[in-house]
């Protein structure tokens, strides 16, 4: 078992939460180098990948629409298809939906306002590699900061996500900051190895930041990444 599982954090032109994500993961025991998007391969021994927040390609066309074609995304697609763990945060979530790795899409906030504040989130399931350190029903306080976080999916698809327990995180009652359908804050793919969420766990890992609840999400990922190393060895 590797003590420090390798979790690269992708960097696109316009990413701006990559450093925070890398620092947070490092603090939680991972080796989290930043990886420029023009790379075609993930480093050997990659245990998980984080697609960070920001404004890749200036949010031109649609958020995440252009970043999904970056060279590194081909490797991320293959990695995810083989069961590799992928976490998309905010713009990373948008990129993963555009790439077809996650269902649904993110639209402009219903208020049209950029929202930047702490929100309370309900953990709906701990049966994912991203929430194993939580208990179902746990409330986490984690900040959001986005203009395009309104989660939409076709009603049948949304019903399927609910029925399959793939809505992993939900804005607590009265907290929905963007008009997301079903108060969805984070969803997984069917295999549960890819999670996208709009809130920023990497900004909630130190008391100085007002909350340490983000550790529950990122710490779960580091735990799962360690186990995936064990599986490879």
């Amino acid at each position: 078992m590797n003590d420090r599982p390798l979790i690269p954090v992708l960097v696109f032109p316009g990413s701006n939460d990559d450093l925070d994500a890398s620092l947070a993961l490092t603090g939680l025991g991972a080796d989290a180098p930043r990886l420029w998007h023009t790379e075609k391969e993930l480093p050997a021994g990659t245990c998980a990948v984080v697609v960070p927040g920001g404004f890749s390609y200036g949010d031109y066309l649609r958020c995440g629409a252009i970043a999904r074609f970056s060279p590194i995304m081909g490797a991320v697609q293959s990695f995810a298809a083989e069961g590799g763990l992928v976490l998309g945060i905010c713009n990373g979530f948008q990129i993963l939906t555009e790439a077809g790795l996650l269902p649904g899409a993110l639209r402009p906030n219903a208020s049209l306002a950029f929202v930047c504040r702490d929100v309370r989130l309900t953990v709906e399931t701990r049966a994912t590699p991203f929430t194993s350190r939580c208990a179902p029903g746990d409330t986490l306080t984690i900040p959001v900061k986005h203009g395009d976080g309104c989660y939409v999916a076709e009603s049948e698809q949304l019903a399927e996500l609910e029925a399959e327990g793939r809505v992993v995180l939900r804005y607590a009652a009265g907290e929905n900051p963007n008009g997301s359908a079903g108060d969805v804050a984070g969803v997984t793919n069917a295999e549960r190895n890819v999670l996208g969420l709009m809130p920023h766990p990497e900004h909630a890992v130190d008391p100085l930041l007002g909350s340490t609840d983000g550790r529950a999400i990122l710490g779960s990922l580091v735990d799962a990444a360690r186990l995936s190393v064990a599986a490879f060895v």
Partner: protein
Amino acid sequence: MKATVLVRPKPGILDPQGQAVESSLRHLGFAVADARVGRLVDVDLPTDDRDEARAQIERMCEQLLTNPLIESYEIAFADA
């Protein structure tokens, strides 16, 4: 060959930008029942074959210019 791709939020998809525009138009005294905001992309393709151009643009729309889950598109040719 020049063409314009019109991209619209699908019916039923919340369009807060359209709502804001609609509300502003009402404030200006216009009687507006609805307003939706999309975007347009002008493209110039190195072909004179309209069918080929249309096929190319449809592929562009599927791959990049639209997200089929939330947007529809229409192709208009400049010389039409």
